[in-house]
Amino acid sequence: MLIKVGSMIAALLAWLGLSFLFPETVLPGPWQTIRVLAENFANGDILSHLTATLGRVLGGLVLAMAVGIPVGVLMGVNRLAEKTLDVWVMVALTVPSLCYAIFAFIWIGLNETAAIVAIGLTSAPSIAINLWEGVKNIDTRLFQMARVFNASRWVIIRRVLFPQVLPYIMASLRFGLGIVWKITVLVELLGRPDGVGFELFYWYQLGNMQQVLAWTLLFTLVMLFIELVILQNLERRMFSWRPEVRI
């Protein structure tokens, strides 16, 4: 913890130092950036942009998990599914996220649905791969044990398979979030009239580096909070039975 705080202070100092070397239009310092951020908050519409973006992140993540988890689990437990799907998952992973966004906006229209579809489909392959690898690691000897004790198929799925897949679902949730929020900003830049991505692009076009940095800082802090505080704690609580959870 001390190391983390220390490295953050060091980074802040480095930023401060570098900002003296460059003009304000290229690299504004931390104080200016924070001041701009505070002004944005005072002006009010920052929250509506942030909630629009977070809504898309959430929608995209849900869609990515809804597609990625079943595909990944199926590939992990069924050899035929694995052989049929693995090349397609690779193809889906290779297509650039920009292409998904363009396809979605052209085929579905410049609307919210298209944005969420683009975000969800871009991140689904990574989640599927994550789960596919995870499911391959599960302990099949426990299924034999369950069968010896007369557990039904449904009981085995629910009480022996699911708890073993759950850590991988949680890991892919965190992992997926990391991908989803990056894509969301890109999708917003391309085809939405609001959100953090839209704002970033707007200020970029105006060449206002203070605003660009302010929005980057805000979004990064919010995402770090979700990732480090909410998800990590949730995971720690869920898997307290495991011998080592501290990272």
């Binding site: 000897r141 009981v155 009480r159 898997f239 039975w241």
Partner: protein, 264 residues
């Protein structure tokens, strides 16, 4: 109720991994009768069909030729086996995310033991195995010996008529294994079960069993009754004498298997 086991002409083949090659026959028309409440140890070199025998008896593998009957009731191709079975694996095979007690509940939930008796049964076996203080612990907090004792509690809690044990003490240190063998005999004497115990340790087999069955190439090579009276002393020279005979048969069986394998 009679819980003897009658095995007739049990044959099991596995398809060869290479095409155009004959299937590998693991069990070869095996006949064996195990009496109600008898403790039988099955010994044999690796690949002799010990584990396959246990898999077919326990209903894990129902794809075989021949017949298995429990007290006259045949094992069917599907559905519940005709008797209540407990099973101890070589490794504890506990569900790591459940506490010791919840692991036992998992077995109980899938059995037909009425729920109002669970508490008494669990108290009884946790007490008997000295795990009373560890009921809320998770498997990773238990030592290897304790984890195996917990899986013994799980196997006994469903009050099985027949207990199958697949080299359950081979992964433990000798001191722990000895203690568990004595505990097992004590539990068996008090509850009366038919036990089929697989091992590759001839002294363990002799100490535990009423009868030692030596398998070789999917058939019974020899049955050696152990008539040393119970309770038995671990260092009894009479046991040692029988164990020597078991050993000799076991080694002969292993050599025979070796010769058969090297034959083209």
């Amino acid at each position: 109720m009679d819980n003897g086991i009658r095995i007739q002409g049990l044959t099991k083949s596995f398809p060869s991994p290479r095409k155009h090659e004959a299937a590998h026959r693991v069990l070869n028309g095996l006949d064996l009768t195990i009496e109600d409440n008898e403790f039988v140890c099955v010994l044999g070199p690796s690949g002799c069909g010990k584990s396959t025998l246990l898999n077919t008896l326990s209903g894990l593998d129902r794809d075989y030729d021949g017949e298995i009957r429990f007290g006259g009731r045949p094992m069917t191709r599907a559905g519940k086996p005709p008797v209540r079975m407990g099973y101890l694996f070589q490794d504890p095979r506990l569900l790591p995310w459940l506490s010791a007690e919840r692991n036992v509940d998992f077995a109980l939930e899938n059995s037909d033991v009425p729920r109002h008796r669970w508490a008494d049964i669990k108290d009884h076996y946790f007490q008997l195995t000295g795990l009373q203080a560890f009921r809320r612990h998770h498997p990773h907090e238990l030592s290897g010996g304790m984890a195996q004792r917990l899986s013994l509690v799980r196997a006994l809690a469903i009050e099985p008529d027949v207990l199958f044990m697949d080299e359950p003490f081979s992964g433990l240190d000798e001191l722990t294994a000895r203690r568990l063998r004595v505990d097992l005999l004590d539990i068996w004497r008090r509850t009366g079960k038919t036990i089929v115990f697989i091992t590759h340790n001839s002294y363990e087999a002799t100490f535990l069993a009423d009868r030692v069955v030596v398998l070789s190439q999917g058939r019974i090579r020899r049955e050696i009754p152990v008539t040393v009276p119970r309770p038995r002393d671990y260092d009894d020279p009479a046991l040692f004498a029988v164990s020597k005979e078991v050993s000799a048969t076991f080694i002969a069986a292993a050599e025979e298997a070796e010769r058969a394998r090297s034959r083209p």
